[in-house]
């Protein structure tokens, strides 16, 4: 066995003691013999041993002080920056940087960081965790955490020689002296542990990757909700069904006998854009039908349709031509406010297809042309004679807005009657604007317009000139190359 020990590196010599007093006595002797690289191992903190061994005081308090100051600085900087600078807002009438209110957190972080300093600083200074230590090879060293005291002299000490140290220790009250040698137990980590660790780490990335992928990609499906966060309203959409009502419709019809705000209008001319008096003369059936429709909308119940009286007037021949007696004039009094309202409504509802200038080339049309939508019927331009007031009376235009035409849906459900009449007024103004001469403009604004026109013409001329020059240069260059 001694041969075996000689082959291994000797780290030092250890001696065992059974009481504090014998240990302290031995410590003093070893210190007096001039050894400095020594240590005592005890089951509890023995007071006075640092003197007996000559251990110097620790720098730990300075680390703790540093930690505390760092905590204080961090807390103050964090609070001042977050609540006073980056996102300042006033609470309880306190200033942005209100130190008294920041004190509690500053105190807590001071204590926290100082405690980290004490805890981690202590382990770092002690060189722990250190799981492989030659001293653990001593067979009796397990009792150091129970009831035995050990004194150790390191082989690296300048005055170390094995025989001398052993002799010195043998003179103390000890019954056990041993040489501490290298720990030759395997330090290889078991393979299955590594495999498990790698697998767990690899698997833990999967949810993270799924989350990351979901965050950066788009999907036509609604996003995934781990927690609904009130994202889904129990209220039904207009076209959905519900079991709450007998007719299963989620969107409710008007309550019978009620009228929506702003829709109380007895005048059918105003509501339809048709001269009802003339219509009754020309086409009594259709007039009756219209009256009934509007009455039903207001009263909620269909009238008895069997009792449709036949008029005495002879039925006129049906013509391919539109014979409806449309209102020739806008029933709303035209003022600047009405036209401006019409402009606002036109730009909201009409301009997306018809364009702000009414030429029929709004954004929807442009997109439809771009993707060459086969079923697309281009919206009409307002600026064609067939749509001027002479051929297309105000009433008819109103009717078109209300009930739609070709692909265009009716807007009666979205735009109030009054505002539809405003749009009619605005369309007329828009049409006139494209065919007006300078004389149509009020005198006091003519000069201003002339100046503007001159500016525009000048700019256009300059632009044309510049383009021409560029063209010439290009031609010249091309010629040079040849």
């Amino acid at each position: 066995m001694s041969d075996d020990k000689n082959e291994k590196k000797v780290h030092g010599i250890v001696a065992e003691y059974t009481s504090v007093d014998t240990l302290l006595d031995a410590c003093r002797r070893v210190r007096d013999a001039g050894y400095t690289k020594t240590d005592a191992y005890t089951p509890f903190a023995v007071h006075g041993i640092d003197k007996a061994l000559g251990i110097k005081p620790t720098v730990l308090p300075w680390i703790v002080l540093g930690g505390g100051l760092a905590g204080l600085a961090t807390a103050l900087a964090m609070q001042i920056w977050m609540n006073g600078i980056n996102y300042p807002y006033i609470i309880s009438g306190k200033p942005y940087i209100s130190l008294p209110a920041f004190m509690p957190v500053a105190f807590e972080l001071t204590v926290l960081f100082a405690s980290f300093g004490a805890f981690f600083g202590m382990w770092a200074l002690n060189g722990l965790p250190r799981f492989s230590n030659p001293i653990f090879t001593d067979p009796r060293f397990d009792r150091v955490t129970d009831d035995r005291f050990f004194l150790y002299i390191d082989a690296k000490d300048k005055s170390f020689n094995q025989a001398g140290a052993e002799k010195l220790l043998r003179d103390t009250e000890t019954e056990y002296i041993n040489t501490v040698v290298d720990d030759d137990t395997s330090t290889v980590i078991p393979k299955f542990l590594i495999t498990t660790l790698i697998t767990v780490i690899a698997l833990s990335f999967i949810p993270l990757l799924v989350v990351a992928r979901m965050r950066v990609t788009t999907s036509s499906q609604p996003r995934f909700h781990i927690f609904p966060d009130m994202d889904f309203s129990p209220a039904r959409d207009a076209q959905q069904t519900t079991s709450l009502f007998a007719d299963n419709r989620a969107m409710r019809p008007d309550v019978p006998g009620t009228v929506a705000r702003g829709e109380l209008e007895e005048d059918l001319d105003y509501l339809t854009g048709i001269d009802m008096e003339s219509l009754t003369r020309l086409d009594a059936d259709r007039a009756k039908q219209l009256v009934r429709t509007y009455a039903q909308a207001e009263n909620g119940e269909p009238e008895n349709s069997d009792a449709t009286p036949k008029t005495d007037a002879p039925a006129e021949e049906k013509s391919v031509m539109d014979t409806t007696p449309w209102l020739k004039n806008n029933p709303v009094e035209i003022t600047k406010d009405v036209v401006l309202k019409g402009q606002e409504q036109f730009n909201i509802y009409c301009a997306t297809c018809h364009g702000r200038d009414g030429r029929g080339n709004g954004l929807v049309n442009q997109r439809a042309q771009q993707i060459m939508a086969s079923s697309w019927i281009p919206p009409s331009s307002m600026h064609q004679e067939s749509l001027y007031a002479e051929q297309y009376p105000d009433g008819k235009l109103f009717n078109t807005i209300s009930n739609g035409i070709r692909k265009m849906p009716g807007y009666a459900g979205q735009i109030k009657s009054k505002d539809r009449w405003s749009i009619v007024a605005y369309v007329r103004a828009l049409q006139q604007s494209q065919n007006a001469s300078l004389d149509d403009v009020p005198k006091d604004q003519q000069a201003e317009l002339k100046a503007k026109k001159a500016d525009v013409e000048k700019a256009l001329a300059e632009q044309a000139e510049a383009e021409r020059k560029k063209e010439e240069e290009r031609a010249a260059k091309a010629a040079e190359k040849e």
Partner: protein
Amino acid sequence: MSLAIPNGLDNTVERPGERAPLVLGDTTYHDITEAVCQVAERPPGRGWIFGFLVAFALLNWLGICIAYLIYTGVGVWGNQAPVFWGWPIVNFVFWVGIGHAGTLISAILFLFRQEWRTSINRAAEAMTIFAVACAGTFPGIHVGRAWLAFWLAPYPSLNLWMWPQFRSPLLWDVFAVSTYGTVSLLFWYMGMVPDLATFRDRSKNKWRRMAYGILALGWTGSSRHWMRYEKAYALLAALAAPLVLSVHTIVSFDFAVSQVPGWHTTIFPPYFVAGAIFSGFAMVLTLMVPARTMLGLEKLITIRHLENMCKIILATGSIVGLAYGTEFFIAWYGQVPEEQFAFLNRALGPYWWAYLTMVSCNVLSPQLFWFRKFRTTPWLIVLVCIFVNIGMWFERFVIVVTSLSRDYLPSAWSYFHPTWVDWSMLIGSFGLFFTLFLLFCKLMPVINMAETKSTLAKQLHMKHNDEH
């Protein structure tokens, strides 16, 4: 290990000029190791298994209730206008308060060189951590959308780029309680490392040795290590002492900084801290008295230890009683009608039964500790302490619920009704607490062996000097 203490070993009698022994009998260092290690090394007894099963079942029930709460929403609690801080906040303050005794024993008594703390500090510190875990659960689920509780951290919330509001006592509370939990954990673990090394060195089983070996960080008991360790321990104690006082002070700010009559009082910080220590010591005794018998630790946790804690309960209980009186005096002296009403309403209003329970449990029952018999008879101690625990829960109930249910606006007044979820969560939090505590008893060193040995060394040293 017999229950009765032989004559001559009664260490509750003061002998002039002599220090009463804190470790009884002809105990050696090895006896201490054996006494503490056998608790963890022998197979669990029937009592332990039964207790653990009950506690674990309650813990699971708590988990189910929390899942139900998160799935359904906070409406499952009895919290209703105007009492939006119902039992969850009562339970939070109750548990945080309980935690305080652990730090007080380990830090403040350490700084005052009260050596009798050595055999009880470990379990008291463990109790602190488990109580803080129970306490932390309640505000965590009380925020409503519990999965966004991390917004309490100083983190720029994802969509708004907003920070927490540092002028709010509720945020101070987040920092105070989390700092307290962290520092208590470090303190507890650091104190355990030498004892975990003892467990490591005694382990026969390879896996057990490896597990305790990792936890012990390679502790050797080197004198240099001990020197820095003791320095770190003293520094941590010095840091934890003001910390423990700050935590319940800040918890009391949650109430005192608001305008609610009955909350808006400057007496709250000292009153809360005294109450916290009071309830914490009661909980320590409630746990330790049965534990010392069941685990066979009578020679280390002696009657003198229990008696000292009873004296602290008597002192803090009287402080709490004085605070109750002062509140009434200030309400009268301050001449604010709402305040006066709030306190009369507390004592004589619809919650008179809660106030009566609180005063009789907190102020009257600890007065029994003036009698030596009550301080030295274990089962009487436990009885009084259970009353104190009940009383302290009711104190928080009285503060939270009576003040909120009747504040400035009489049209909003209402009576608070807890639901079965409230009850389940209160009882379930005890399940969490006892599950952790019973696991601790079985897996960790329940008594600080190293410190107790050092107390014994001093005792032996003094005896040695006397003989000469």
